[in-house]
Each structure stands twice: as C-alpha cells, then as structure tokens.
C-alpha cells in the first residue's frame, strides 16, 4: 500500500464517511444550537457588564473587574468539570447542556466585557462632550453616540472570541454532550480509524467559514466612510 493510500485509509475511508456522516451532522446541529445560545447570552451579558462599568460606581466596578479577570484566566475545562461534578455535592445538579451553556456564556461574557469596555474607552472624550453639550444625558449619550462607535470598533475581536468559545463547545465531550468532538471520538474508538475525527474537523471548518464571513460583512456594513 502506498503512503498516500495508507493516509486515505487511516483518515478518510469512504465507507466510514458514509457510515458516520449522518451521526456527525446531527452532532453539528447540536454544536450550532449550543454555540448560538452561548454567543447570544455571552455577548449580551458582556455588553450589560460593560455598560454597568461605564457608570463608574466603585463597588460595582470592582466586582466586574474581579469577575472578568477570574473568568478570563480560569481554563474553561476546569469550570465545566467543577460545575458538572462539583455542584451536585451541594445539592445542585444541572443537565450537561445547561452546564456547558452556563460556563461558556460566563467565560464569553468576561471577555466580551473587557473588549467592549476597551471600545467604550477608545471613543474620544469630545464625542461625550459634544453630545452632552446638546443636552443629551449620560445614558442617552452612551446609547446613541458612544456604544454604536464602541461596538463597531470591537466587532473583529468579538468575532474572534465568539469563534474561540464555539470551539470550546467541544469541552462538552467530557460531560457527555453529544456535540461534534464527542460523537467523532466515540466513533473513532469504536471503529479504530480516524475517519470520523477528520469528518468532525471538516465540519468545524465548514461551520466557521460563514461565521468569519459574517463578521467581515458586519464590519463593512457598519463602516461609515473612511474616517
């Protein structure tokens, strides 16, 4: 057997592709569903935290900063295991889906808060002053003048973070969520061949290219002139 056909035989056997494609596609829909939920709640709560932080209340900001720093530094795998296997000891048992969603949402919100906060800070002071000088109050200025600019500036890093967190859905495999990696590795050990894993990898690429393109499109859609 030549090297090339050995490679195909190990990583891309047509009969195994046919056999496991349906199961992996089903896993893709699960990954997508969980990911959409995580990105929605993660970005939304990150935005809320960044807005809360701009009110510059000391105690509140201290909490937000600690929250963001802790959840940006802890490995998400540790959090997943801690919540899934640890919380039942104190009487709180959550289904594996809920654990994955909760943990990754919290992690994403910590990153999103820091990114959006940096975006808010990067809007020049003159923008605040111009808006306030026409009688807009703090909240109106934030909502209509500062946030639209901050969000526009932070779309690329927020897209990146969303991709990273969606890939972390694979962590669900350690707590039994039937997402792509879980289904693929199970099949791999069952048939003793890497083909299911290759299929899973291809699914990730196919899944993320539209996300990257969407990020690009959103960026240009909200561009204003060439300032």
């Amino acid at each position: 057997m030549s090297g090339w056909s050995l490679f195909i035989d190990t990583f891309f056997r047509p009969d195994l592709v046919a056999q496991y494609l349906p199961a992996i596609l089903k896993a893709v829909t699960i990954t997508v569903q969980v990911a959409v939920l995580i990105v929605a709640t993660g970005l939304a709560s990150g935005l809320m935290l960044a807005v809360a932080r701009s009110f510059e209340l000391r105690a509140v900001n201290l909490c937000i900063i600690i929250f963001a720093d802790v959840f940006r530094t802890l490995p998400p795998l540790v959090l997943v295991l801690l919540v899934y296997f640890g919380l039942p000891n104190v009487g709180l048992t959550l289904p594996s889906f809920a654990v994955l969603w909760l943990v990754l949402s919290v992690v994403l919100s910590a990153f999103a808060e820091e990114i959006l906060w940096a975006g808010i800070l990067s809007v020049r002071r003159g923008q605040w002053e111009a808006a306030r000088s026409t009688g807009l109050n703090f909240v109106q200025t934030l909502a209509y003048v500062v946030l639209p600019q901050a969000i526009r500036l932070t779309i690329p890093p927020l897209t990146n973070r969303s991709i990273v967190i969606t890939k972390n859905v694979a962590l669900g495999s350690v707590i039994g969520v039937p997402e792509i990696l879980n289904v693929a590795t199970t099949a791999q050990s069952f048939v003793g061949n890497c083909t299911p894993l290759t299929l899973g990898a291809i699914c990730y690429v196919v899944l993320f290219i539209p996300v990257v393109l969407l990020g690009r499109w959103v960026e240009t859609r909200f561009a204003w002139g060439r300032a």
Binding site: G126, S133, F222, W224, G225
Partner: protein, 248 residues
Amino acid sequence: MTEQPLPILEVRSLRKTFGTFNALNGVDLTVVPQELVFIIGPSGSGKSTLLRCLNRLEEPTSGSIFVDGIDLLSRKTNINLMRRRIGMVFQSLNLYPHMTARANVTLALRKVLKMSRAEANTIATAALERVGLADKAGSYPAELSGGQQQRVAIARAIALEPKIMLFDEPTSSLDPELAGSVLAVMRKLRDSGMTMVVVSHEMRFAREAADRIMFMENGTIAEEGTPEIIFGPNANTRTRAFVAEIVR
C-alpha cells in the same frame, strides 16, 4: 441714561482649580443679547476652561453663572435642559462619525426635545441650509471637509435655538481656506442677532465682528474693551505684545 438690556450671561467671580493649579482666578463677565464677545489670550490662560464652565462641561470650583436669569450652578437647575439653550462648537469638530449630517443635527432634537423624526428633519434641513450645507444632509462626516464638518457642528447647535453660542477655537484645527467658510457662517449668525462668546485667534474676525474683546492671562481677564481699544496703541503692554505675536 440709556436702558441696559438684561444680560443673557452673567458670570461672577468664577474660579476653577485643577489640583493646585488655578485655571480661573475670579472671572467676571456679562454678555447682553446680540453681543459678540471675543476672548483672546495665550494658551493656558484659561480661555477654554472659562468657556467649558459656561455649560458645565467643567464644574466651576466657585462663583456664579446665570444664563438667561437662571442659576446654572443651582442644584435645582436641570443642566441638560439648560444646555440646549447654550450651543457649543468645539475645536476638534466632534461630529458623530456613525451618523449622517442630518442625523447629527436631529439627535438632540429627537431625544432631548422629543420631536418626531419628521419635525426634527424639517428643522435640521433649515439649520443645514443656514450653514450652506443643505445638499450634504445625507453625507457622513468622513465624506465632508473639516470646514464642512465644523459648519454641520454649528447647525447641530443652532437647531436647538440656543440663547447663546459658545465657540471654542472653531477654526484652529482647519486649514486657512476652510476656516474662511466657518467664519462666514459665524458672521451670518451674528448678523441674525445670535449672542456669541468666541475663543479664537482669528484677529481679523475679532477686529471686524466683535463688540468687545477680553484679553485673558493667568486665569483672569487682564484687559477688556472694544476692538479699537484692544488693537489700538493704548492697550496695555501685555495685550499689545500678544496681539503683535498673533498677527505677525
């Protein structure tokens, strides 16, 4: 005795300190309706700080400010409602980059004065017309020259029908040929009876348009008078030295 019109702006012993630095050292200033008061002086003399205190972008340390008879520093005064009565134009233009010229003008009309979009648009069109930019209503700031941006900023302020307009070095960030169009709009505004306080180094404009010129130094008004006095041979030495430096 001639009857004095009630002042639109009355500032009494205004002080502003930043840490240990006295930016304003007891400034008194009275501006009557339709007057154009020019403030000149070296950088760091407190001109911009004074202007920024007049709509409380900067909180004065002590003193009093009355605008149209209302105590600006009173806790009972709604500063957001007062600010629409005090238009301000900045050196750094400060248009909202994510909005068209029209939207820049209508934002406060809709959100502060709670006008409908249609009402606000009508007023915005009129305001943009006054600054000669009716045809640029749909343009974004990035598509406008600096001079045009500054004129939109003026339209944004006058659309709110302020009692007084504050200009903080409105032409300093512009090329001279673009500054001309902004000065032309300011001249028109003055002719329409707008009360104005202008901080600027445009001495020619000061000479021909100002009713009064204040020369500020070290946080106080060192000298004030008509353009004839300030630019004349009898102005005090510091004023003359400063003017000579600028028009050089």
